[in-house]
Subunit: 314 residues, 2 copies
């Protein structure tokens, strides 16, 4: 048995993963991210003890624990070099956690962990694999020959911070024109709100009144109902994602490219036009095409991936 | 001893590389690329025999021969799947060449070969390495853990065909906004010619009359002489390159990023502003920075890299 912890800005989620990479049991507690990191780490350890007890396991059954954490992670030293979301600056997360539970431990960037979880869920069988998760930002994960590719400084795979619009919108990272500034859910919400201002008669305005706020679903739902302005927002947003996927396919030609994050629930609505654009614009015209698909584990990818990355490290 | 062959659109260049990866002897013959591929392959074999004889070696000293060839190359089958430059469509290049000289053989995409040559020239010591060559087009090569990364279908590492301008200029590949359409030498020549039309008083017009045509050097030379229009062309062109390098750094965070191709002769003129932009826009703000440098082997990279890739295959 292994444990994966997905340390998010809102919740700490943890789960027990068996030898067949099946998530057996999971639970979560609020992160309360404004607290000092030591309180958060203590809660992470408590949560692990709780799920072990509640699931009827014993701590001696647990062979490794992996933590997925946002930010720049030095996996070799078990350190959170910097996380903006949960305030941590050079925190030796693994050493701090070990004060509570002393088993083989690993900490991984959360997008890398989710990428690895999806990779394993997809059969752990391909040599090259790229994962992109669309959320508040855009996370990326690259698996080459079965190993998480981190770059020489553990700061790689930031595919959301490759630009698609030179001199374009300023990204949260400070660079202009990043994919994240156009294809994250945050960007979709901005694009939706702009169109609503432009088209006060759009169904999106009513929808927003009904549900209280503009969300990543607003344009997709109203587009399904035939609203012209919503269709425009949705189509252009998908085009941004497709531009990013197309770039990564031309660079990596991976066996498999997986799209995750909440918006991936849209399924074929998202996948079909992305595939259409990518295959039409593929530099590779003579060899087999990279497989493009929607994530399978969804919210559990981070837990499973963190656990399995810890197995590899152990 | 090993032999590398760089099969280009203009010349076939071949050289003998020793065990210390030193290029001992080289020579070339015109490709005459409009001929049937069988005549070109025969000339490649003749050239190998000539350099072996002229250098005082014996064919029995040659332990492997590697060929670098433009286009989509299936290295595992020794096949040129498709090359537009030298007309080849599913040509079993290795089998055809073996009819003349039967030693361990390998064929590699020419940019991959050049990348590998530069990688070895740079000490063969880093785990992650990205090479970009700026010429008629933009070639890319990625080395991970000492191995050429080809993608699952041997069509990867096309970093010139990631876009930096959504809906931008149509690239020769058919996609819009590719880095190649802005940062290749072909693009620089177009940008120079446009500016010359716009600014008939620019020194670039005189320069072109003197040297007979607009070239990749026109803007750089006239910028050095203080011509304002030329400085604008040069600065914007370097900005395009920097955008591409910045994207690749955020994706790969490689130990080393190397810029090659004729324009890399400009040295610090090119390198300093690229580094400035890239480090300023680096998503990685807390870990060591990727090293960015100009290629060392220049025209010999293809020969050396093709030879050494054949050693690895043998």
């Amino acid at each position: 048995m292994y444990i994966g912890i997905d340390l998010g800005g809102t919740n700490i989620a943890a789960g027990i993963v068996d030898d067949n990479v099946k998530l057996m049991y999971k639970s979560s507690v609020p992160t309360q991210k404004e607290r000092h990191y030591s309180a958060i780490i203590k809660d992470m350890a408590e949560l692990v003890k709780t799920i072990v007890a509640d699931s009827g396991c014993d701590m001696s059954d647990i062979r490794a624990i992996g933590i997925g954490c946002p930010g720049t992670i030095d996996n070799s030293r078990g350190m959170v070099v910097y996380s903006n979301n949960i305030k941590m600056d050079h925190v030796p997360l693994v050493d701090e956690f070990r004060k509570y539970i002393d088993v083989p431990l690993n900490v991984e960037n959360d997008a890398n962990a989710a990428a690895y979880g999806e990779y394993i869920a997809n059969g752990n069988r391909v040599n090259s694999y790229v994962f992109m998760t669309l959320g508040t930002g855009i996370g990326g994960g690259i698996i080459i020959n079965g190993k998480i590719y981190r770059g020489f400084n553990c700061a790689g795979a930031e595919i959301g911070h490759s630009s698609i619009v030179i001199d374009g919108k300023t990204c949260t990272c400070g660079k202009k024109g990043c994919l994240e500034a156009y294809a994250s859910v945050t960007a979709l919400i901005e694009q939706t709100a702009e169109k609503m201002d432009e088209c006060p008669d759009s169904m999106m305005n009513e929808w927003t009144k009904k549900y209280g706020k503009v969300s990543g679903r607003t344009a997709f739902e109203c587009a399904k109902a035939g609203d012209k302005a919503a269709i425009e927002v949705k189509d252009r947003y998908i085009r941004y994602i497709a531009e990013g996927v197309s770039n990564m396919i031309n660079i990596f030609q991976p066996d498999m490219f997986v799209i995750g994050g909440g918006i991936s629930n849209e399924g074929d609505e998202l996948l079909i036009p992305i595939k259409e654009f990518v295959y039409e614009n593929d530099y590779n015209k003579y060899m087999p095409k990279a497989e493009i698909k929607i994530a399978e584990l969804f919210n559990d990818a981070g837990i499973v991936g963190a656990a399995m990355a810890a197995v590899d490290k152990a």
